[in-house]
């Protein structure tokens, strides 16, 4: 079964430059504990072609990439590379076979020169020493092939992000890569840098390199993309010739209509009482003039692409990062927040998206994590901890959140992701926080635990707590929130009533071109 028959037999269009098939994945699956990351996905790539992979966060794009580049081994299905069935043991194996991946976070060593980076661990040698002349000449040749103006002697730390990308591509060329995978290559580039990148991509196409291109920026794709494959929830949706489809069509396929039973019924209605209002929040170069209101019992969504400033705004309100200007009001009282301590004393709480590095003290026990923000209430005035009160409080929240742990004294590191997340939530409930910022609370946790956390969010709102839900998963935003603030490049571009909006509308605001498509959408 080829992808094109699945995609309702669109007219087969072959550009002259595009050559023979170089890669074919058939019914590839990948499971992680509790998650089906990829489910019978098909994908093929031809020489000299740019094949885009689109899908929401969590649709399985990165898993697919990691399988192609050998970082993951598929559980099912087959991979044919240049007509032969292949299995790559690891990324080095794939790299040797001619598959290079250019990661979003670039893997260059800043203190070495461009040439040294391109030939890292493959340095040309003369006897025991590096042959500097050859190194330099070969690096220059690679850069020339791409037509980019970067000196091989320049230190990588002196280059811009775009130039670093070029170096990565040159490195791929030097490896005689036949397939180059690009993960969000334009996410941190300016317009002119993007244009330069596209020139280089055209150059690669001319050389017969097949390119797997992953990006959220659908508008840019027209300039380079030949075909596009859409994934949703780890499943294959369709493959089209890009010329025969439209951005709106692709978005519709990415989103699908699968909102069904993944979310609990909201049991509460937000009140009119404003708990938190911020205005004019600015941190230079990060976010500008951000303002919103949060009501008692409301779940307010923060939607937007990665890097749009949602996390940064939440962290600044919580005092974790500095603010340049702006006002924060609790009810009608203006407050100043200089540190997380201040924010916590005002009843705010922030649950980080990066649980392991910002949320949990993983070497400490469940109890110790639960009470970490409440130690002052658990100890006498000499600082001696009341272990009885501590154990009692911890037990209450272990039961309330049904944290599954063999013992309250288990080290947090040994629990599952969902239970770890519950511990972090428990920490703030134990603190009696009234305003909770949840930053990607369901990232990396399995489906069952997700549902439990959704129920909990609803219950918290029903108790009159104000919840801000930062999520990159639009279904989550639509399934749970009352209103949604959409971020684009450090600004709030729209505040929408969740009931009256759609994924398409949010996507359009999030990508910067405010073109509401949903009929009857209104901002309050």
């Amino acid at each position: 079964m080829t992808p094109s028959t699945v995609s309702r037999a669109l007219p087969e269009f072959q550009s002259a430059a595009i050559g023979a098939e170089v890669l074919r994945l058939t019914n590839v699956s990948k499971h992680f504990p509790g998650v089906r990351a990829l489910d019978e996905v098909c994908f093929d790539l031809r020489r000299g072609e740019v094949h885009a992979v689109c899908g929401e966060n969590g649709a399985g794009k990165s898993t697919l990439m990691k399988i192609i580049s050998g970082q993951y081994q598929p559980d099912g299905g087959s991979i044919a590379y240049k007509g032969e069935a292949r299995r790559f043991a690891n990324s080095l194996d794939a790299e040797r076979a001619g598959i290079a991946i250019i990661h979003q976070e670039l893997n260059l060593i800043p203190h070495l020169s461009v040439a040294e980076n391109i030939y890292l661990a493959r340095e040309p040698k003369r006897g025991w020493f590096i042959d500097r002349a050859t190194l330099r000449r070969d690096a220059q040749a690679c850069l020339d092939r791409l037509g980019v103006d970067i000196r091989p002697d320049a230190l990588v730390k002196s280059l811009s992000v775009a130039q670093c990308q070029m170096v990565e591509i040159a490195k791929a060329l030097s490896l005689n890569a036949e397939i180059v995978i690009m993960d969000e290559p334009t996410s941190s580039l300016t317009e002119s840098e993007t244009a330069l990148l596209f020139q280089v991509i055209h150059e690669l196409k001319r050389e017969g390199v097949g390119i797997v291109y992953i990006s959220h920026r659908l508008d840019e794709m027209a300039a380079i993309v030949d075909r596009v494959t859409v994934l949703r929830d780890g499943r294959y949706v369709s493959t089209h010739d890009f010329a025969a489809t439209s951005v709106d069509d692709i978005v519709a396929r990415m989103v699908g209509r699968s909102l069904e039973e993944k979310f609990p019924e909201r049991t509460s209605v937000p009140t009119d009482e404003v708990l938190l209002s911020v205005s004019g929040l600015t941190r230079r170069g990060v976010f500008h003039d951000v303002g919103f209101e949060l009501r008692r019992g409301e779940i307010l969504g923060f939607a937007g692409l990665m890097g749009a400033g949602r996390t940064e705004v939440a962290r600044a309100i919580f005092g974790a990062d500095p603010l340049d200007s702006g006002r924060i009001r609790l009810g009608d009282r203006e407050i100043t927040v200089r540190s997380p301590r201040d924010a916590i004393d005002h009843g705010l709480a922030y649950l980080s998206e990066d649980r392991k590095s910002h949320g949990l003290a993983i070497k400490m026990s469940v109890v110790q994590n639960l009470t970490l923000a409440t130690m002052d209430a658990m100890s006498n005035r000499f600082g001696f901890i009341d272990f009885e009160a501590e154990a009692k409080a911890a037990k209450t929240y272990i039961d309330l959140l049904s944290i599954r742990t063999p013992s309250p004294h288990q080290v947090a590191k040994l629990l599952s992701g969902g239970n770890q997340q519950k511990i972090v939530i428990g920490k703030w409930l134990l603190r009696q926080s009234r305003i909770l910022f949840f930053d990607e609370p369901t990232r990396g946790i399995d489906v069952g635990a997700k549902f439990a956390i959704y129920q909990l969010l609803d219950r918290l709102a029903a108790q009159g707590i104000g919840v801000v839900l930062i999520s990159s998963e639009l279904p989550e935003i639509l399934g749970l929130t009352d209103r949604v603030a959409v971020f684009h490049e450090g600004r709030i571009t729209a505040v929408l009533n969740t009931r009256d909006t759609s994924q398409e509308e949010i996507m359009h605001h999030a990508s910067g071109h405010s073109r509401p498509t949903a009929p009857g959408a209104a901002t309050p």
Binding site: A320, D345, H358, M375, D376, F387, A394, T405, P406, S407
Partner: protein, 352 residues
Amino acid sequence: MSDISTSTNSAPPSAREPGEPKARMMNDKKKDLIQKFAALASLMLLVAVFAMTSDAFLSVNNGMTIALQVTSIAYLGIGATCVIITGGIDLSVGSVLALAGVVAALAVKAGVPVPLGMGLGILVGAFCGLLNGLCVTRLKLPPFIATLGMMLVARGVALQITGARAVSGLGESFGELGNGALFRVVTIGDDGFPNVVFPGIPYPVILMVVAAIGVAVMLSRTTLGRHIYAVGSNAEAARLSGVNVARVTLVTYILSGSLAGLTGCVLMSRLVTAQPNEGVMYELDAIASAVIGGTSLIGGVGTISGTAIGAFVIGILRNGLNMNGVSAFTQQIIIGLVILLTVWIDQIRNRR
């Protein structure tokens, strides 16, 4: 605490445990016990071996000698443990103890009463610790560099103010702290010579026990102790939970400095002479005792009881090897190998 309670999760055992002094994680506790047992067992083994090879080793007198010798490693090790739990390191304590002892001696020489002079010495140590802490928390210097700087500065100041000469002629009362003992029983024999029935418990040993218990209680039972572990386990998570990370870090360096100050006073008192060259490389003994006792240099893990065992392992090794006539050079080699071995075992244990 039976095995059953760890393997079933039907009845949360929390209700039974709060009364327990060290209410820590079960699994970790088990591991901790194994580690302690391993360290303790090797300690016992050392004692047994030395007892067999040397007649004089297993005696009350030698026991007290060892305890006395261990005190300086232990004081410094207790401070080092707290600093290392936060993820830091204090390389300056060897120099700081010299500076503190010299200042105390100079003060006494200038007419200040002995207790006040020694108090001043401890204050000097605390001040050095404060500077270390400020360099780490305010100037954001890596702890290794900040305390390396202090190591050179404090030693330099100690040499400068004494002209690199020992300060002596301090009077008998200066030696009281280091040489006195509690419950010393001496009878006068028939021949008129004093006969020591029980050598007494030296004051430095009493101080060591007090300091160890005090800091152990602080670490396991107080908010400050909990915060010290939290900072070392995950400083950012601690900060986002409202822990004043800078203050907690500062406190550990001040504690380490103060204990170095105390060590200086005790050492100089034992010799009744203040040597500006005293304590060179002592910081390494302190760190070694903490590490042998299971403190992780990555931070977040460590106990005072472990460090005490570590200090005794080093002390007994030195003493026993001495009594067996092993040269000082060979001793260094053996102690070095012991450190490598214990940390390697620790790594294997943690990898599981």
